[in-house]
């Protein structure tokens, strides 16, 4: 995994992939699956995730104020779904799903070696939790082993899709030259 510029991390969130969010509670790691997330602003490395007290990771994230967001490729589809269908309350998911941890640079939660993208994040703002279950995360360090890969998307009904190969439309992006460089 190589370090990736923070100015371009929005490119991993914008396509709307299913993500993995890992926390460390001081004793052990946990990981959850989620897909409610969005870019807040492409000029700063901020994105929003929707979480709530029903998630086992919620209290840890709020108390530790940091996490790692990893983006799995399609070869992890089954694992990604299964991680979202058990709970850290009674399961060591890193062990159960044979995830390889890599030490992060700025946060205590681990990177996941099997994921092409790993984003070390801190909580920027949790004032929108009560109204909208929203937490704004700031990426403080980004790692990438592969820039384009088949991301996973959830249709919200237990069916998923994976990406096609990328289709190059750069020549049509005449109004947005800053995005294609």
């Amino acid at each position: 995994m190589k370090e990736f510029p923070l100015s371009k991390v929005y490119r991993f969130i914008e396509p709307g992939p299913v993500i993995l969010l890992s926390t460390f509670n001081g004793q052990k790691n946990n990981v959850m699956t989620l897909s409610y997330c969005m870019v807040i602003d492409d000029s700063v490395p901020l994105f929003a995730v929707s979480m709530g007290a029903w998630d086992f990771s919620f209290d840890v994230l709020l108390s530790e104020r940091e996490c790692v967001v990893s983006i799995p490729a399609d070869d992890m589809l089954e694992k990604t779904v299964d991680i979202g269908n058990c709970t850290g309350a009674d399961t060591d998911k890193f062990d159960k799903f044979d995830l390889t941890t890599v030490k992060a640079a700025k946060v205590k939660a681990p990177l996941i070696k099997e994921c092409p993208v790993n984003l070390e994040c801190i909580i920027e703002d949790d004032s929108l939790l009560n109204r909208y279950n929203l937490i704004i995360l700031r990426v403080v360090k980004a790692w990438c082993s592969q820039e384009h890969f088949r991301k996973i998307h959830h249709n919200g009904d237990g069916t998923f899709t994976v990406d096609s190969d990328p289709i190059d439309m750069k020549s049509r992006m005449t109004r947005w030259p800053e995005y294609i460089s």
Copy 2:
């Protein structure tokens, strides 16, 4: 297009597709492309979009307080990109891109016949605009001609992907039975 239950509209936003947002300013229709959007809560038909004053549709959306969000399929990939690369300030995009308008039931902006999903929306909350460019939209009427179709995703760099066929993982969704019914 058939009416679609509001309780399930999150299923069209959760996978992170590129969307079209149409407005009517009292005289003419306009449409823009965007892909910063997320489900706020699957139990209510709310979702967030990120927009700003740099978008020609912004003032109209804020003054009219309503819009239509249409979700294009992959057969509209080129059109969807091109709609995002010209401006309603000098272009009648519905005319230029040969979009067929259908009268909406609850808002003045039009549905787009060529899109499998059309969501009539009102502004629920624009108090997050200054801080995060976020507008919370509430779907008040939903229309669907096809539930599963190849949505478009933007990698944020002028390359796009389209969905694979849906992959059925319902049997693994043991903790979330409410999502698969």
